[in-house]
Structure formats: structure tokens, C-alpha cells
């Protein structure tokens, strides 16, 4: 009797909810169609500006992808949104700036700047990896069995600390700091070709290397195993703490590299960069399906492209609204497709 009533109630409820997904799907397609119409309208109205925006989008999108990978890897392995990741990236931009400009004296970027650039990359990647591994070791590790709210708030606290450090006058100060780095060379629609090339030359090998590490090496296998089941992995003889630490380090290193590139692209540092760009990157990670590496890259490119089109396209709201547009994407995505473009069924966690 009791079970029968329960089942009846269950089916009734199911039938009542059924209409929701259909309406939702239709609305979702409408939103998607509107985005497509917007992009096409931009192409038709002003192809030159569209080209420029697309190049800017590619350039920024690659950076977002690097930062998004850090979010997505950490989320994949311990299901934590690392709020401090964006601020770690911001610290990396400051390290890069002080190293390149103050220590190495880079001003006009020429072919000889490649060596300092490589050095800065190495230093900043090491910096990012160390800071991220350090925060994992001192904070998140002790909270692994705690309720989810605890590590999340710890991450928020760490992000506060990083921002506070950057705000000190002897680090960067609370205002935007412009650095005398000058770009030259040919430009397409206002986009310096060398800048774009530099970004691509650094990010592509990093992304390929990342994919190699995660999919081909023993460590990558361990990462995937830990992401799937920590206890199971531990029983198979995998060093779970070491693997998680390595994942944090990898994410931090990518954020460090992104910091160098971002600084060189924008030639300025600001303590709030981390929050803004971190949120954008996180949106990118969610857009691609959080926990999915390819998704993070695709999401980063998509967000970079949409943002650039909004700022530089014929029909855009301008850079004043760029945060709002990105968040609008995030919110719409959360409502219609929380699992992202590369949905859960095909998601390979890490």
C-alpha cells in the first residue's frame, strides 16, 4: 500500500515536471540563435572591425584558456572552485612586470627580448606552481574531508590575501600601474602581429604539453584516477596527496605563464585584474564543461571572441559592459546548460 502510493506520487511528480525541459530547450535554442544572429550582423555591418575583434578575441581567448585550465583541473580533481586562482594569476603579472622591466630592463620589444621573455616565463611558471602548491599544502589539504563550504571560503580568504599583498605600495599599489613596454611591427586592424604570434607561440606548446601530460604520462593517469575515485586510487598505490599537489602545481604554472603573456599584452598591472579575469576564465571553464580540458580551451576562445566582439564589433555594448556580458553568458549558461558545451556524458574528468 505504502509503496504503491509512493510510486504513484513519484510518477505524478515526474509528469508535472516534464514540460519544463522542453520549454527550457526551446528557450535555450532561441538564446543560441540570438547569439548567432548577433555575430552574423557584426560580420555584415563591418567586416574589418570584425576581423580585428576576432584577432583580439583569439589573443585573449588563449590567455583565458590557460587560466581556465587551472580552474578546470583543480575542480576536476577535488571539486573545488579555486577562487584564489585568478589572484594568483594577477600576482604572476606583477612578478613578470617587475622581472622584465625593473630587473631585465625590457622596454622596446625586439627580437632580443625573446631571451628575457623565456626567463620570465620560467620564473613565473615556477612562482605560480609553488604558490599554488603551497596553498594546497597549507590550506586545502587539511580541509579535504571537510564540508564543501570550508575549502571554498578558504579559497576566498586566500584570494583576499593575494589581493592585499598586491595592494601594498611596495608591490603594486591600489591603482593601475602602467609599465613602459612598447610594441611595434606590423598590425592588422590595430592588432600587433607579433603580440598575437607571441601569445600563440607560448600557449600552443603549453596546451599540447598539458594534453600530453594528462593523457599519456603516468602522472596524468594518476590524476585521472584520483579525479575518479580518491579512495580507489589510493588502494591502487597512487600517491593521492602528491597527485593533487602536482595538479595544483600544473594549474599554477599555466596561470604563471598566462600572467607573463597578459602583462606583455596589456603592459599594465592592477590588483583587481585577478578577480575580473579569474571570473572570465572560470566562465570559460564552465562554458566548456568544467573538468573537461578541451572544453576549457574552447570555452576560453569562445568567451574571448564574444568579449572582443562586444568591445570592438559594430554592434557591441563597449568595454564598459564587458564584465556584465560575460556574466550574462555565465548566468544564461547556468540556467540552460549547466554541464557546458562538452556535456557530462562525454566528460573525461581531470
Amino acid at each position: 500500500m505504502a509503496t504503491a502510493a509512493l510510486v504513484a506520487g513519484g510518477t505524478q511528480r515526474k509528469a508535472k515536471v516534464r514540460l519544463g525541459p522542453l520549454v527550457e530547450r526551446i528557450l535555450g535554442y532561441v538564446v543560441l540563435a540570438l547569439v548567432v544572429v548577433w555575430v552574423v550582423a557584426n560580420v555584415v555591418a563591418d567586416p574589418d572591425r570584425f576581423l580585428g575583434s576576432a584577432l583580439v578575441g583569439l589573443q585573449n581567448g588563449m590567455l583565458y584558456a590557460l587560466v581556465a585550465l587551472g580552474y578546470t583541473m583543480v575542480y576536476g580533481i577535488i571539486e573545488l572552485i579555486n577562487f584564489a586562482h585568478g589572484d594568483l594569476f594577477m600576482l604572476a603579472t606583477i612578478v613578470a612586470a617587475s622581472l622584465l622591466v625593473s630587473v631585465l630592463g625590457v622596454g622596446n620589444l625586439t627580437a632580443t627580448s625573446i631571451l628575457p621573455l623565456l626567463l620570465a616565463l620560467v620564473v613565473c611558471m615556477a612562482f605560480g606552481a609553488l604558490v599554488n602548491m603551497g596553498s594546497e599544502f597549507f590550506a586545502y589539504r587539511k580541509l579535504r574531508s571537510a564540508p564543501k563550504l570550508a575549502p571554498l571560503m578558504t579559497a576566498v580568504g586566500l584570494s583576499f590575501v593575494f589581493r592585499g599583498i598586491a595592494q601594498q605600495d611596495y608591490i603594486n599599489g591600489s591603482a593601475q600601474k602602467n609599465w613602459p613596454v612598447v610594441w611595434g611591427g606590423p598590425a592588422i586592424e590595430g592588432v600587433f602581429v607579433y603580440k598575437l604570434l607571441m601569445v600563440l607561440a607560448v600557449t600552443l606548446p603549453l596546451l599540447i604539453g598539458m594534453t600530453y601530460i594528462v593523457s599519456r604520462t603516468k602522472m596524468g593517469k594518476a590524476m585521472r584516477a584520483v579525479a575518479q575515485d580518491q579512495d580507489g586510487a589510493r588502494l591502487m598505490g597512487i600517491n593521492v596527496n602528491g597527485t593533487i599537489s602536482f595538479t595544483f602545481g600544473l594549474g599554477g604554472a599555466l596561470a604563471g605563464a598566462a600572467g607573463v603573456l597578459y602583462f606583455l599584452c596589456q603592459t599594465q598591472t592592477y590588483y583587481d585584474t585577478g578577480t575580473q579575469l579569474g571570473l572570465i576564465a572560470f566562465t570559460a571553464a564552465v562554458l566548456g564543461g568544467i573538468g573537461n580540458l578541451t572544453g576549457a580551451v574552447v570555452g576560453g576562445l569562445a568567451i574571448g571572441f564574444i568579449q572582443a566582439l562586444n568591445e570592438g564589433g559594430a554592434y557591441g555594448l563597449g568595454s564598459n559592459w564587458s564584465q556584465s556580458v560575460v556574466f550574462l553568458i555565465l548566468i544564461v549558461l547556468m540556467v540552460f546548460k549547466p554541464e557546458g558545451i562538452f556535456g557530462r556524458p562525454t566528460t573525461e574528468k581531470v
Binding site: I81, A150, M153, V161, N320
Partner: protein, 451 residues
Amino acid sequence: MAITAASGTSSSRATFDRFKWPVGYVVVILFLFFLYHSILPSLVRSVSAPVIAWLPVATINECLMWAILALGLNVVVGYAGLLDLGYVAYWALGGYTAGWLMAFPFNWEWDFHLFSPVKVTLPGTHINFWLVCIAAGVLCALLGIIIGAPTLRLRGDYLALVTLGFGEVITQFFRNSNNIAGANVANGDPGISSIDPAGTGPLGAAGIAPKLLTNSAVGNVWKILVLGLLVGICIFVSLRIREGRLGRSWLAIREDELAASMMGVPLVRTKLLAYAVGAFFGGIGGVANASLITTAVSPSGFDFGKSVLVLLMVVLGGMGNVWGVTVGAFLLSWLNSNGLKQIGVQIDSWFGTDLQATLPRYNYIILGLLLVLMMLFRREGLIPESRTRALLKTPSRTEAESLGAESLEAEAETEAIENADPEEDAKIAASAAAMAGSGAPGLDAPRREEQ
């Protein structure tokens, strides 16, 4: 006879308990008021100066204002367990409501006065402080529902992110508000300045209090009563709502959403109400801030840091515990506004250092570290709520636990595996066998019957 007598005393005891905190609260606020109104001015300078240096009236007012916000966020985070990182949105909207309804005009022509204490000849819209409080509360509650609606199906961490996003969007909206499709909605970056102070009504007319509560020495003292009343209302609502059906639904959702929905708690309505109530408080806090503390609103004040500050107050004090949250708000807002500087002054006078100016600059780092340390060592806050303590202390269920093993046992086991040596291995094998043994009857019994 004996029974009725006993119940009589217990009911009078209950009445006493019911009135215990309001009486205590009123006494504290009145004490603070008279301390600054009449006691301190009449004392010798050597006694009153340190008190005023460590706890100026303006700081007390700020503390009370932050307490309103912390109590509001406590409803969302502490009661309902929905992590909101964009709480500043409500504070901002409340402040701007005050800007729209009780200030000089920045873009409109009409003059409108409604029970406002300011001069009738002043141009612009001027509405009574208390009416604006209600209006801002309602407006913010609506915003809370709008923000809450799309986030309802999200789990904790996604929810935090989307609320954070909304917080940033609202701030950006106000930053760009001098040109929303060509219209000047809220004057953009400079914001709206010179917001009306609250009036004192009959007290002012009788000549006891100043007519307008401006940022003067006398006005600040009387503001303690106004803000104290607002905080008192918030505490009362928080406490009463928690005892009722709605409050218990929130706690149920916080502790186990699935179980709560199975017990018949309407998830959508309950969560939206949590947002609405929390936002209502936030709106009141916004008006109080704009009218009584800063007398101006501008977008630069409403940054992500403020959201985290309020969250920190809630976490530090003890999520879900009204008194803990109030204490947390007092402590942190005091540290933020005056405490750090004063500690610096004190250390300077002891050791001859120069920390007075530098210490307040480290407030972000100190607050962030505080949050991390709280999470690591005292997750339940200074004055924990008994339920929260249970919630934050228990580790999440592991698979071993669901098979019947104690979670601590499982943890000890995993640790042992990491530093494996033969003897330990044998022990682990034994305990694993024991575990399998304890889990086996339930799992294997039906199979055996089939055979």
C-alpha cells in the same frame, strides 16, 4: 494542584526567557547612548579620552550598520546554507534607493516631499527615512528573487560564483548608470551625494534631540538609537523567523536538501524566501549606510571586498547564530574602521615603531588570513550554533562509512596505507576483513537464500 503550580512557574519562566534578550539588548543600546550622550562628556578627560579613541561614536554607528548586513547575510548563508558572494548588490541597491528617494536631484526637475524632515523648499525627492527603508527592502527583496531564481538548481560552488557575478554586474550597472540607453539613471561614477539625514520627529520638535541626524557630534550620538532600533528589528525578525516553519525549513535545506524536499519542504519557495529576506535586510543596511554613515553613494564603495567582509563577519561570529553574527560584525567592522589603527597607535606608544599608518593598509591581508585560519581551526565560528557545529565537524560520508565502518576508522586506514610496511599491511587486511564481515550479512544474505 501541584501540577498547575509547576506549569505556572514554568510558563512565567518562559515569559521571562522570551523577554530576556530584548530587555538586555535595549539596556546595551541605551547604555551606549547615554555613555556618549551624557556620561563621557561629564567625566574627566583622562578617563574619557581612551574610550573615545578606542571606540568613537562614528565607529559604533558603522558597527551597527554592518550588523544589519551581517544579520541579513546570515539568513542566506547561515540559515539556508546558500553561499552568497554578491551580497554587496543589495547593499548597493539599498543605498541607491536612498539616493533616488531622499536626495538632491541629479537629473530630474520635480520636487516631492513626503514626511521628510528637511526643508520644504529643497528641490528633489525627499521621502521619510523609514519609508525609504521599507521601499529599499522591498526593492532588494525583488532583486533577491530575481537573482535567486536562475541559481536555484545550482549546487553550492556554482551558486557562489553566479551570485558573485550578479554582485559585479550590479556594481557595473551603477558605474555605467550615467548612460543607460542615453538616460542618466544614477549619475555614474561620481554617484549621488548629499543624501538626506534621518529626522527625529517629535523628539526633535520637543527640543530634546537635534531635528536632523547629520554627521555632527550630537547627531552621531542620536544615530546610535536609530541604528540600534534597526539592528534590534533585524535580530528580532531573525530569531522569530528561525523558530517558525520557514526557519526550520531553511535549516532542513541547509543540512540536507534532498531529505528536506522528501519531507515536503518546497525547495523553490523556501530558497527564494531566504534570498528575499536576506536581501530585505541588505536593503535596509544600504539605506542606513547611505543616509546615516556616508551621506552619499558611489559605485566605488560596492566592491567584491565588501561582500567578503560581510561573509567573514558571518563566518567569524558563527554561521546561523544571531548573536555570534552580531558579535562578528562588531569585531570586524571595528577592526576595519578604527581598531587596526588604534592597535597600531598603541604598539607605537609601547615600542616606538611606526605602525599607525601602515597597519590599516594590511587589512585585506589580515582579514583574508583570518578567514583561512578560521576555516582551518575553528570552522564553527566564535559563538557557534549547536547545529552548525555538528554540520561542520562531521566529515563527509565515505564509501567505507556507508558500508558500516566509522569514518575515522577509514581515515586511519588510508593513512596506514600511505606509510605501508608489512606488519601494518597485515593489520589493514584484518580490519578490511572485519569491515567486509560487518557489511557482508546485509549484502550477501539474499544471495545465499537464492542459492
